[in-house]
């Protein structure tokens, strides 16, 4: 494929950027117009989770795609895809924190009431709510294994998002940066497991993501073995 850097940078990238925002645009629109189910908060949590998994898969697919097609341009979208995975993952974490944790707190009603009436909630209330939130989320991460997995999966993306800039690549050096960013393989494994653990029955959906990640990581294992095999070995003469 012959595409100039300019085309990629000024046409392709903005298009992909906007397209990647569409799931969020749709969800916000659907939530505001009553086009989600009777339990919209649960839909928002589920959908942001699913889109996180999709972007993790897309991120992991770009390097193999580049090798298969020979078009190096794919690599220019890797950072964006990875950051979108982090973006949707963070939205997922936030919807969980608000809809599942905050909404279940004793203090929540007071806070919501104050905001609904248009006055600032008392600082004491805000502080006690924040404390209760931290405890509530902490306990949940500790007690429920699938939450633990999900939270760890999000944590693995955090340093990658922070160090995604050119400055950080320079600071860390290409080799170390590359090694650090292999953490995304862990994200790829934990994400589908988190989903798998959550479903009540019929694991076909989490299985689809697990299978995708398995193929994408499997390809890498295959390459690294092929690379090792290709390294010329000193001849040894067997007596």
């Amino acid at each position: 494929m012959k595409l100039s850097d300019r085309t990629v940078r000024f046409a392709f990238k903005p298009i992909v950027f906007v397209a990647s925002l569409m799931p969020l645009v749709y969800l916000v629109w659907a939530a505001l117009t009553g086009n989600l189910s009777a339990n919209p908060l649960s839909d928002l949590t589920n959908e942001t989770g699913v889109w996180t998994l999709r972007f993790v898969c897309i991120t992991l697919a770009l390097t193999p795609l580049r090798k298969f097609t020979g078009w190096n341009g794919f690599i220019k979208f890797r950072r964006m895809a990875g950051l979108y995975a982090f973006f949707y993952g963070t939205l997922h974490l936030l919807t969980y924190a608000i809809a599942d944790r905050f909404a279940g707190l004793e203090q929540a009603s007071g806070l919501v009431e104050a905001i609904a009436m248009g006055r600032l909630p008392a600082a004491v209330l805000v502080a006690s709510t924040a404390r209760a939130m931290a405890t509530s989320i902490g306990e949940d991460i500790y007690k429920r294994p699938f939450i633990t997995l999900g939270f760890v999966a999000w944590l693995t993306m955090l340093p990658l998002a922070i160090t995604s800039t050119a400055g950080w690549i320079r600071r860390l050096g290409g080799k170390r940066w590359n090694r650090l960013h292999r953490l995304v393989y862990v994200t790829g494994i934990l994400g589908p497991l988190h989903y798998w653990w959550l479903v009540k029955a019929d694991v076909s959906r989490p299985m689809a993501y697990a299978a995708a990640v398995a193929v994408l990581l499997g390809v890498r294992v295959y390459w690294s073995r092929a690379r090792r095999a290709a390294v010329p070995v000193r001849l040894t003469i067997h007596a």
């Binding site: 799931p23 749709y26 659907a30 086009n35 989600l36 189910s37 009777a38 339990n39 908060l41 649960s42 839909d43 959908e47 699913v50 998994l53 999709r54 898969c57 697919a61 193999p64 795609l65 090798k67 298969f68 809809a99 909404a103 279940g104 929540a108 009603s109 919501v112 949940d140 007690k143 429920r144 294994p145 699938f146 653990w197 959550l198 009540k200 029955a201 019929d202 076909s204 959906r205 689809a208 993501y209 299978a211 995708a212 193929v215 994408l216 499997g218 390809v219 295959y222 092929a226 095999a229 290709a230 010329p232």
Partner: protein
């Protein structure tokens, strides 16, 4: 102008024969990746296609009942688009899309086991002589959401008396109708047909009803037409829908979800905020339509009426 001289190709830069031959495998892997990617992106539809059930026939002579929750009712749209009825698919909106294919007339219920009146009982015979009552109950799903639903039905005790159970009958086992032609179930989800059970005294309790209506109309298919169980102090999965078989048995029946995952779902399934599901807390619930979560009540708030059924029982073990 300085023109950099291209580095000479080293022998190691030449694609070796092995890697070249591997390209074919690479392409196979690429095809697999593409297939998997399509699968991943296509398995879950983002669009919610739920449509509320069309309104059914009005039920005649429905009497108001003293049993009921004095709470704001959930809407018809909510009750008929947010359902767990796996025979029609595992998404909450699947039943609203596919349940219309279920043929509920004529309907017979097979009566079997430890009772005198074994055989097929047409629904008309079951309803003969029954005064339908409106029962407004809280409905608490094991997934930690809840609704307030105006059912129309009759006490299950009346139907049980009609069947004349013998002294050996200690439990009642219910089975949901199952027909792959009318139901779009994915066979991999859970084992069908769906089975539930109650202890005989739970089944005879005045709060336990067979519901045949909703909001004064014939019950929509997605909510378990033509007849479904309602046991308001138990989690929703006990409320078996579209019942086609009732069997009186001596031993405790193995209900579907217990069979599916016995560490997560028990036989009793009484609503109990102090016994968590292994994967989520049962302390609070989201009432559909509300943002703030409510505290879940012991026996879903029906403790005064039903707690005596379980005196002396360890409800942590018998969850």
């Amino acid at each position: 102008m300085l023109i950099k001289r291209a580095a000479d190709l080293r022998s190691s830069d030449i694609t070796d024969r092995k890697a070249y031959l591997n390209r074919r495998e690479f392409l196979a892997a690429a095809a697999a990746t593409a297939a998997v990617a399509t699968g991943v992106l296509g398995t879950e539809a983002l669009v919610y296609a739920a449509t509320p059930a069309p309104h059914g026939r009005k039920l005649e002579n429905v009497k108001k009942s003293p049993f009921g929750a004095d709470e704001k009712l959930n809407k018809w749209e909510e009750i008929t688009t947010y359902n767990n009825f796996y025979e029609f698919g595992i998404d909450k909106d699947s039943p609203s899309m596919f349940a219309r294919n279920l043929k509920t007339e004529p309907w017979t219920v097979g009566i079997d086991g430890e009772c005198a009146k074994r055989g097929n009982m047409p629904l008309e015979d079951i309803l003969k002589g029954e005064t339908l009552e409106e029962r407004i109950y809280r409905h608490r799903c094991v997934e930690a959401w809840s609704m307030v639903i105006p059912w129309v039905g009759f006490p299950l005790a009346n139907l049980i008396k009609k069947c004349e159970p013998t002294s050996k009958a200690r439990y009642v086992e219910f089975t949901t109708f199952f027909d792959t032609k009318q139901m779009s179930a994915r066979t991999s989800a859970i084992r069908y047909p769906y089975v539930e059970g109650l202890r005989l005294d739970e089944a005879m309790h005045p709060l336990t009803i067979m519901a045949v209506g909703l909001y004064g109309e014939v019950i929509p298919n997605q909510d378990g037409a033509p007849m479904r169980l309602v046991v308001p102090w138990k989690y929703g999965f006990k409320h078996i829908k579209s019942i086609s078989k009732i069997r009186f048995v001596e031993k405790q029946p193995l209900n579907t979800w217990q069979d599916q995952a016995s560490s997560e779902y028990g036989f009793y399934a009484n609503v109990n905020p102090s016994v968590n599901h292994p994967r989520w807390s049962q302390a609070t619930e989201r009432r559909i339509g509300e943002f703030l979560r409510r505290k879940t009540l012991m026996f879903n708030g029906y403790g005064d009426q039903v707690a005596n059924l379980y005196t002396g029982m360890d409800l942590k073990r018998n969850f």
